[in-house]
Amino acid sequence: MFSFQQLAQQTHAWLQQHTGSFTVLVECAIVAVFAITLFAVLGLVLVLLERKVAAHIQIRVGPNRVGPAGLLQTVADTLKLLMKEGLVPNLADKFLFNLAPFIVMMVAMLLLAPVAFARGIQIWDINIGVLYISAISSISVIGILMAGWSSNNKYAMLGAMRSGAQIVSYELSAGFSVLCIVVLSGSLRISDIIAAQENGWWIFKGHIPVLISFVIFIIAVTAETNRAPFDLAEAESELTAGFHTEYSGMRFALFFLAEYINIFIVCAIGATLFFGGWMPLHIAHWEGFNHVMDYIPSSVWFMGKTFALILLIMWFRWTFPRLRVDQLLTLEWKYLLPIGLFNLLLVAIIAIMGWHF
């Protein structure tokens, strides 16, 4: 059966034979090409998906003119953005203004490293994978603050400040819900966490506390990626476009792309932690069932789970109204954080007593 793991091993062997000591460099280049291709494809697919989902939820049709059923709409949009002029405001801090989109983009790229795409397909299986993800994802707020500050625009400034308060607060809840899984699987390494779900995903094995931590995780990452109902940083109706008000052309496209890449990555991480990543649906002691599930390729499992979570987050966006700043902080500090802390205690008890399956 075809598998990416085999392909990767064969490529590695072939490269070692032909390039010798440069193998690592060549592999780095290959990985970079794949990462950039993945970004471009994800940007096109997710933007189209979002518009179609939004349209159907709002009883509309959505893009349906460019290409069959509007499938080429985002390609046309990308071409338009590529050809647009990238305007820099006169009194902007030009260096920071130009740097900010790249910082946001770089953070998104760095986050890709520990994500396991399929059985044996992982760019960097670092032993502190989950910690690495939590640490890197908070850097993106610097890019947003940089964009807001350097634009020399009051809307951009307000949006960036709101975004700062929001990301810093919600990082805590996301961290606590991730910790629940770390406590249960006893490792920070992504591949260990996936391997611990061989006989069932954590969301089923960990009883209600894991379910609660999953709900908290989804709420927190929705806030961290600045998406509705937590899109105060952009808030079209109040702040025009928030921190990227002054951006146009390709720099704007980078912000836009980074938003969607971030959604993909947080959903991939959520799928890895709670739904077993590429691990097929296994139920302990059901050998026949497990064997049938193994026939579905691991990459399909991973992508299926990730896109299911992406659809969930899109569903949130087009259903819920935007929160006020005070409501946003109340939700985090008075509800999510205490519940998360208490939940972590429950999970710790379950892990110590060995009550999980």
């Binding site: 939820i57 009883i59 049709v61 349906n64 259903t319």
Partner: protein, 158 residues
């Protein structure tokens, strides 16, 4: 009882959010609910709501007779002078004079489709049509004469 309130807050919040998600989720999986019409494509089978108001027309039956008595109630009801009725006097065979319309002038370019003239009409002589493709190259074409040539008032309408 702080804790009880807190928990019921969380419960109520989650419940109302799920209620909203149920509604949007229903729309998402039922494409038949879509209300958008692909207008130029479905021009033949276009479905307009019953109360859609396109323009004022006068109904005529197969004998080329209408129900307009020329009472000018619609002209008086119109807020922006869209309707102008020119009356004449018909002479019946017995030599009695009777008021009737000569021309019912309707300025489509001034009309806001407010429906007040239709409500004012005591004999239901005029109604709103559903046609809406009104664009023309010469604005004179928007001034319309609603009663058909040689049409008469229907017998019995007073």
């Amino acid at each position: 009882m702080f804790l009880k309130e807190y928990i019921s807050d969380v419960y109520q919040g989650v419940r109302s959010l799920l209620k909203g998600m149920k509604k949007t989720g229903y729309y998402f999986v039922h494409p038949s609910e879509i209300i958008t019409q692909q207008y130029p494509d479905n021009r033949e089978q276009l479905h307009l709501p019953e109360r859609f108001r396109g323009e004022v027309v006068m109904t005529h039956d197969e004998n080329n007779e209408h129900a307009c008595t020329g009472c000018t109630a619609c002209e008086l009801a119109c807020p922006n002078g869209t309707i102008k009725i020119i009356t004449k006097f018909d002479v019946s065979p017995e030599g009695k004079k009777k008021k009737a319309i000569d021309t019912f002038i309707y300025h489509l370019e001034l009309c806001t489709m407010c429906n007040l003239c239709i409500e004012a009409c005591p004999t239901d002589a005029i109604k709103m049509a559903q046609t809406f493709e009104h664009s023309v190259f010469n604005r004179n074409l928007l001034t319309k004469k609603l009663n058909l040539p040689n049409s008469k008032i229907r017998e019995g309408v007073e």
